[in-house]
Amino acid sequence: MHLSPDELVYWRYGFVALNSTIVTTWALMLVMTIGAMLITRNLAAEGPISRWQGFLEIVVTTIQKQIEEVGLHEPKKYVGYIGTLFLFIAVSNICSIVPGYEAPTGSLSTTSALAISVFVAVPFFGIEKQGLARYLRSYLKPTFVMLPFNIISEISRTFALAIRLFGNIMSGTMIVGILLTITPFIFPIFMDLLGLLTGMVQAYIFSILATVYIAAATRTREA
């Protein structure tokens, strides 16, 4: 049974293989980048703005407001990274409506890559905000006995991020596939709709959790 888009290989040379995950990711990157470049070509500060620019402004300001509300101050520094996470996962999940499309987030490699990028980004932003010594000291924070538990919690929440996104998307597509062999008429459509909804919720959850982790790492304790 077709478990993930990693199995469909388009081109192979030695050990380098271009599978469906990579090709779909590239196609999504192309579409989003070219779309954004076309929309932001003539930005208007006042006067009548085009609808697409208004749409992009809504997206960016909403993400910025959400980051601020979760407790991460100076949202403008982080809206690039967190907005990218949210938009990539959201677009790749909502494009499941296109027939014949397999979401790249349904492959454990994509979700692990995103989770590892969060794992790297949290200390990066923490050190940038607090300096290396204070950030490392925050691992000893309640008492120094908590040091191994803090490290374990860092690693396990990276796993949790990857598995949560992968499990939700992969099980959504697999349920639709199984239902198509059992009750082929109306029920798979409902499961497809549910899959779209969970795709958007998971995109939101992934970016909000990344925001919460970065907020915890950059929280400066006033002495």
Binding site: L3, N168, M174, I205, I208, L209
Partner: protein
């Protein structure tokens, strides 16, 4: 019962039991979370957006426990490494 049959039987039973037992506790937890959220929404309607956002984040964290069980049982049914190893041995040897 030879080892291949044993592996198949144990994998199938474990897959069913994993997802069955593993979704009881998250479902109960999510029910309590939503009911408490509804109570606090009724008490403080102006904090609705904060409560709703925190509710969704909490629900996703609780849901991930059930997702872990689902991934294990999917692996046992569809990508079972022990089964694949034994099948490769019997067809190869």
């Amino acid at each position: 019962m030879d080892s291949t049959t044993l592996i198949a039987v144990v994998s199938i039973i474990t897959a069913g039991v994993t997802i069955g037992l593993g979704s009881i506790a998250p479902a109960l937890g999510e029910g309590r979370a939503v009911s408490t959220a509804l109570t606090s929404l009724a008490q403080q309607p102006d904090a609705a957006s904060t409560i709703t956002r925190t509710l969704f984040v909490g629900l996703a964290m609780i849901e991930s426990i059930a997702i872990y069980c689902l991934v294990i049982s999917m692996i046992l049914i569809f990508a079972n490494p022990f089964w694949n190893h034994f099948i490769a041995q019997t067809t190869g040897g």
